[in-house]
């Protein structure tokens, strides 16, 4: 479904990605783990068109989408739920969700999406008319995920959705990610919490300073010596 070949991204002189290869098959949850600054966020930003790659290609459903505008990427079926939530703080919850469906052509037909989002996150239905900036951190994260779902994506990119949340909320978010995946949405998940991520993912990639150093089925990575030492703290 998604294929990155030799993808490189530079910020000025900083080489954030040094030519990585990755593949995501339809229906999978694939996780990207790695330390701070390894290049995880940059990978997602390159896929969703927020940064222009310096080299390499991004293919989505057999079509080369490298360097396309973010708008074209959303329309092709990729939603990016960015690091740090990035909700619109001075707009209501409802308006945030509405903007998630900005590129949808069938705007009169969003009931199913609203229903699905409110099913995953009932609190958002209650808080509909509240300004998003006044929500708690966990609620903002739910809103960010809900907003990304409003575009009805085939592939959902999630950047550290559990960051800064209380343990019981982390648990809940992971449960919902799995539920979203069961409904047929392919997921690429960045996590610092490698233990949890490898728990729900089918496969994983380990990034270190802009390169993929390891990849494989999640259960294998969990038992890999390097991963256990560096990321699972065992």
């Amino acid at each position: 479904m998604l294929k990155l070949s030799n993808l490189a991204v530079h910020y000025g002189r900083i080489k954030a990605l040094k030519g990585i290869d990755m593949e995501v098959a339809a229906g999978e949850i694939v996780t990207l783990i790695g330390a701070n600054g390894a290049g995880k966020t940059t990978t997602l930003r390159a896929i969703s068109g927020l940064v222009r790659p310096a080299g390499g290609t991004v293919e989505f459903e057999g079509r080369t989408v490298t360097g396309l505008d973010a708008r074209e990427i959303v329309k092709s079926g990729i939603s990016h739920c960015p690091e740090g939530r990035q909700i619109f703080p001075r707009m209501t919850v409802a308006e945030n969700l509405e903007l998630g469906a900005y590129t949808r052509k069938d705007k009169h037909n969003l009931d199913a999406e609203y229903q699905r989002v409110f099913e995953y996150f009932p609190i958002l239905a209650e808080r509909r008319r509240q300004l998003a900036g006044t929500l708690s951190g966990g609620e903002q994260q739910m809103l960010a995920i809900g907003r990304a779902l409003m575009a009805k994506p085939k592939l959902l990119l999630l950047d550290e959705p559990s960051l800064g949340l209380a343990p019981f909320l982390v648990e809940k978010i992971f449960e919902i990610i799995r539920a979203i995946n069961r409904q047929g949405v392919t997921i690429m998940l960045i996590e610092q919490n490698a233990y949890q991520a490898l728990g729900i993912a089918h496969r994983g990639y380990v990034l270190e300073t802009g390169s993929v150093v390891l990849s494989g089925p999640a259960h294998e990575l969990r038992h890999n010596d390097h991963v256990r030492k560096a990321y699972l703290g065992e």
């Binding site: 505008d69 708008r71 960015p82 909700i87 619109f88 903002q140």
Partner: protein, 292 residues
């Protein structure tokens, strides 16, 4: 005394309307493009000349001239965005200042060459019509300024709050990266913002041109006050700009009426400095704390 007071209130509302219309564009362009447009006063000036030409030379009805000038300046605003602002967006702040300041000087001097530096009068069909009550006479032109400003504010408010375009504009202002992720075309939104901002400045020029005079330097004189308005309202804050425009307009005209017109410009900057000392985020700074 009462009559004097009412007269000054009316004057204050006229000034406040002018400041509002100019400040709205300035603050919207800042909020969405991140650019402080030093040439905004010149859009107001060009709007006044466009209106003068349409109404006095072509003898169109005043309201038609007003709409015509707004459309002409909307096109100018789009050209400005495409040719100047867009290339400057990624540039360092100093380049932006020099760029828009350069446009300001260029436009003012072009106007001096084209229209001569002498102020022109701009008579309209409303200049000699009066509304009398409580023994005072107010020209219809002054009432029209306030009335049309209120209508334009209401339209803008509707646009920003309820339309898809307005929501996209707010999204770009609050978080440009997230707006791009929603599939919002930021370039298109910038273009529309500049068109609206320039059209509102033009409306100000056409509305008050007949009350004061029309000259190539009028933009320069207005812009200092309007910057004070925008800073008081909180940079990028549309609602704040409206309130502070009227506060400053009223403060100015009441000062001129009851103390001396020598103090009317001082009061504006006195208020500005006081606010900057005690509330640097502006009188109407955003209170929503963005949680991390």
């Amino acid at each position: 005394m009462l009559q004097e007071f009412i007269q000054q209130i009316v004057n204050g509302l006229v000034l406040g309307s002018t400041y509002t219309l100019i400040a709205l564009g300035l603050t919207m362009i800042y909020g969405i493009l991140g650019i402080v447009n030093w040439a905004h006063g010149e859009l107001y000036m060009l709007g006044a000349f466009a209106g003068l030409y349409l109404a006095v030379v072509l003898k169109l009805p005043f309201i038609v001239a007003l709409l015509g000038a707004m459309i002409i300046l909307a096109v100018c605003g789009m050209l400005l965005e495409r040719l100047v602002f867009r290339p400057l967006r990624q540039a360092p702040e100093l380049n932006m200042i020099i760029g828009t300041l350069g446009i300001s000087i260029f436009l003012m001097n072009t106007a001096i060459v084209l229209f001569s530096p002498n102020p022109l009068s701009f008579p309209t069909e409303y200049s000699n019509e009066y509304l009398s009550f409580l023994g005072i006479a107010i020209t219809m032109q002054r009432l029209l300024v306030f009335f049309i400003t209120v209508v334009l504010i209401a339209l803008l408010n509707y646009l920003i709050k309820y339309t898809e375009l307005g929501k996209a504009m707010r999204a770009c202002e609050q978080n440009p990266d997230a707006a791009r992720l929603m599939g919002i075309d930021i370039n298109r939104i910038s273009l529309v913002t500049c068109a609206i901002g320039a059209a509102l400045a033009a409306a100000a020029g056409v509305l008050v041109g007949p009350i004061f005079l029309v000259s190539p330097q009028m933009g320069l004189l207005a812009i200092a006050k309007v910057f004070a308005v925008v800073i008081l309202g909180g940079m990028g804050n549309v609602e704040g700009a409206i309130w502070s425009a009227f506060i400053l307009g009223l403060a100015e005209s009441l000062t001129a009426g009851f103390f001396s017109s020598d103090y009317k410009d001082i009061i504006t900057f006195f208020i500005l400095i006081a606010v900057l000392i005690f509330r640097p985020q502006g009188l109407f700074g955003n209170n929503v704390i963005e949680k991390v």
